[in-house]
């Protein structure tokens, strides 16, 4: 789509675009190209010579059981964060959409966690789940459940999932609420007059009409669970114990910044780029269909 009436200046549009394009070229395209280049190279142990190794970095990566574990961690983590945060958000949105007293107050009280940084959410969760300082952690130990997420990998995974889902609920809540409010009231009235029970109305009328929102959120939630949760994991568990809570981003960070294994880190970046591209394409294909919907 484009406008019919436009301005005729020749130079001005380039000047207007220049800042954005310069920043994009220097800090997006250049590093991305470097990542691709490095992913085919390997440095010797002293960082003196560099040689071309073809796809070896990728082969090593996927032959490494620890990396496969990290990929699995990422999938497991993203799956549960998405399911939990979307489930809770949908329930709260359906209820907040009812005509009850104080619905605006509820909305305000349910959206503010959007503003909390992932790393800060992690700090809040330390005070909930720390085995000797946290409210719930102490209670669990008091009831005889041996609870220490710093030593037990499954418990560590549970805590990072809960913290990440907790932070994501308000975002999903807002979208579900907007989706619910855009369903024409006449459709709901028709279903009610036909005698459909509230739960039947939900599953046969509301839920199908919400499916565009649900699908959109599904993609966004998976993307954000994979890419925006570095702070939660770094502050809560540091990827540990062992590498029980290491995700792909965390591992790329550790290999690039701490272990200085540039070839492997770059290969991991390329894998992540392909993942983002796939997710973005799914999202936009869907949006295109949605416009015709």
């Amino acid at each position: 789509m484009r406008r019919k009436v436009i301005f005729g200046n020749k130079l001005l549009p380039y000047l207007l675009l220049a800042p954005q394009l310069i920043v994009t070229a220097i800090f997006f395209f250049w590093p991305a190209a470097e990542a691709i280049r490095y992913s085919f190279l390997r440095q010797d142990a002293f960082g003196i010579s560099v040689m071309f190794v073809g796809l070896e970095n990728f082969q090593d990566l996927f032959a490494d059981e620890r990396y496969l574990q990290v990929v699995w961690n990422t999938i497991w983590f993203s799956f549960w964060v998405t399911v939990l945060s979307m489930g809770v958000a949908l329930l709260l949105a359906v209820l907040a959409d009812r005509h009850i007293r104080g619905r605006d107050t509820y909305r305000t009280l349910l959206i503010w966690p959007y503003a909390i940084a992932p790393a800060i959410a992690a700090v809040l969760y330390i005070f909930l789940f720390h085995p000797s300082l946290g409210l719930l952690g102490r209670a669990l130990n008091g009831f005889g459940v041996p609870w220490d997420y710093r030593l037990n990998g499954d418990q560590a995974m549970l805590v990072v999932i809960l913290a990440a889902a907790w932070k994501q609920v308000s975002y999903n809540f807002l979208f579900f609420l907007a989706g619910l409010q855009s369903i024409p009231k006449s459709v709901l009235e028709a279903a009610a007059i036909d005698g459909a029970s509230p739960s039947r109305r939900f599953w046969t009328v509301i839920f199908p009409l919400l499916s565009p929102t649900t699908f959109f959120l599904l993609v966004i939630n998976i993307t954000s669970a994979v890419f925006d949760t570095f702070g939660i994991i770094d502050a809560l568990t540091g990827g540990g114990p062992g590498n029980a809570t290491q995700t792909m981003i965390y591992r790329a960070y550790v290999d690039g910044r701490v272990n200085l294994d540039l070839g492997s880190s770059a290969a991991q970046s390329v894998v992540l780029m392909i993942a983002v591209m796939a997710l973005t394409l799914v999202q936009f294909r869907f949006i295109e269909r949605r416009v015709h919907y």
Partner: protein, 300 residues
Amino acid sequence: MSQAQPAIAAPVPLAAEAPRRRRFLGADLTTHVILLLGVVLFALPIWIVLMGSTHDAATIGRGEVPLLPGSEGWNNYATAWSEGNTRRASVPVSTMMFNSAVMALLITVGKLAISITSAYAVAFFSFPGRMLCFWAIFITLMLPVEVRIFPTFQVVSDLGMVNTYQGLIIPLIASATATLLFRQFFLTIPDELVEAAKMDGAGPMRFFKDIVLPLSATNIAALFVILFVYGWNQYLWPLLVTTSTDVETIVIGIVKMLGAEADTEWNIVMATTVLALLPPVAVVILMQRWFVKGLTETEK
């Protein structure tokens, strides 16, 4: 994305439900109970740090998890604000808050400024390479900083921008999302308006300043909230490009304070946490109306 804003129907009570008032009172009660549980679920972690921040370190260290206010609040906040973590040489929270505020505001203003001008160029001009420029901006959606961690650091370090505000801010100010939103909005400005302005002799910059900017006020307000929260909450990027405490942000600072557990002043950490989440939460709540509208329209 180009969809019209959904009309929100007025709350008309469903006719069929009128005779069943009593059952619906029960349903209302359940609704309130579950919503209140949701509110508590969100508020409890904050309540714990808020109350904890008013007690002394020993109380927290013993694991008492106070749920009522104590008497040390003023001391804790004053210590955190002016000294930070006293047991290790650390940065005062006031410095970190200042760094976070500078970073968040400059990222926000920078993103808004370069996005609105590039969207204006793409929407109101015809020039060779127009679609190429648009796609170049668009494709950055697929290159978040997380996937190019090390090479981006390398570039910033080659440019000598490690440990500077420039290094913290400039790499983050390109924004495909904001550009797309502004472009979308500009396409809805009627051709007649542009025609009239041209006939009155207004040049493109005059039109931008007198017509486009004022019309964009709501969009700018909405994006301000989203981008401010984004900027304030940055973690991975500041962790990569700052090693000096001079430019340390509050979100990084708290995680550093956690450090070795035995050596952590938990009450100070709690006070710092409250201070760190105050500005973005305040922005979201105070500008809620624009934020909600902006968020649900931007990202679709």
